[in-house]
Symmetry: C2
Subunit: 250 residues, 2 copies
């Protein structure tokens, strides 16, 4: 019996962003399991494979099903968009896995939106950075607020996941207010990318003041520069400091 | 004339970690350019291609060569390990690119060590996290120190790049001391991974107190948990909080 569970990060969109390792894991699996939208991204590559999909907010059920099915002797791939770890299924699946000790688990990393969205804008995360989700579905808002404040105090570049949803229309505005109150310049170079790696991909650069007023949706990833982040020929770039040691960069 | 420059993140090691998009960019290029060690990782896949390598610490020269060669009408792929953006060549190349306005640049994201190393340990970055390089070659140490302190105050999971080198043997120890002084528990779940995706890959979990005394090298990526990070059946997992909404995780 196989008793093997792959937890696979697909990257942002279609098959072009998948690693060879991720693709091999999907090929090795007998069953593909995941949130409906992500299964749809890959199911056409493996039309003969069984799929098991669950809607949003049923993450633990999905993990349990994957573990139980693998424990029953089938090879399962539990898929996530982006990376398997970053806000993905590797966390909850590994927490639950103690109940199915015979299942061998392999986590397969993927390109998370901080990287794929960053590439669309330029190189916003080319120096130290933070990744923060604005969703308070699973995290108390005070924790998020404190992290935003600390990220500003540390002058990190910041990548925001889940900047908005139907129920959280004003969260991005609240986040920008916290960053501004913590001393970030309203002219800080920022950007956002919608539908990364999918049809309708769209990147835009704005100031922090403009970002505060932007109406974004849940398919958008937001980038907020550090104090050194630049707009260079329409791209967002956070310098690492080579110019200090190796002469001028521009 | 092509006038095209790809800046390509290769992922952590061999071809298995490369995305299809990265591989296609290398295929499309006439010349592969990069730091010798990274070119060696991929040159065997394209034995017919011309390569141009430069040693470490000649990053700007490498970028200029790539831009100039692309401006001359050849298609160039400038390769980086991990991601193209995160401490990679996309930043300096885009800063310099204004001098070669005819070159079309495409940044191709890759799996950075925070993700690939995280997958080896489990899911250490499954909630909000910071990425900080301990190298003060290009960054004043005070900036690094402040970011470490702010990362601790924000209770982020932290991924450290460049934890040590021949000249910086005690930097990891200094970093741990800053985190401990900022209030992090000496029992915080930590881990590190050496030679990610390459021969001799090795992951280990330790406490923050143990990490302080570890003798690591420059091929190692370090993970420091948040206050909620757990060791679950030998894996490092930062819970996202599903158990609060969907019942117990273990």
């Amino acid at each position: 019996m196989a008793n093997k569970l792959y937890i696979v990060g697909l990257g942002p969109g279609g098959e072009g962003f998948m690693t060879a390792q991720a693709r091999a894991a999907l090929e090795a699996a007998e069953v593909l399991c995941g949130y409906t939208v992500y299964i749809d991204l890959v199911a056409h590559l493996f039309p003969e494979k069984e799929t098991y999909t669950t809607p949003m907010r049923r993450e633990l059920d999905r993990c349990r099903w994957a573990l139980e099915t693998a424990a029953g002797g089938r090879t399962v791939a539990l898929v996530c968009s982006g990376d398997a770890g970053v806000y993905g299924m590797a966390g909850p699946a590994l927490q639950l896995a103690a109940q199915w000790p015979d299942v061998e688990i392999e986590v397969v990393a993927g390109v998370t939106a901080a990287l794929s969205g960053g590439a669309v804008l330029g190189a916003p995360l080319a120096h130290d950075f933070c990744v923060i989700s604005l969703s308070d579905l699973l995290t108390p808002w005070e924790v998020i607020e404190n992290r935003l404040r600390c990220a500003a105090m540390g002058d990190f570049s910041i990548c925001l996941y889940n900047p908005a949803s139907h129920k959280r229309k004003d969260y991005l505005q609240k986040a920008c207010d916290i960053l501004l109150a913590a001393g970030k310049d309203p002219e800080t170079v920022c950007g956002y990318v919608r539908n990364i790696g999918r049809d309708g991909e769209e990147g835009k650069m704005v100031s922090l003041a403009q970002l505060r007023g932007a109406a974004l949706d849940m398919f958008t990833t937001v980038f907020i520069g550090s104090s050194t982040t630049l707009c260079v020929s329409g791209r967002m770039v956070t310098p690492r400091g080579y110019e200090r040691k190796q002469g001028p960069c521009a």
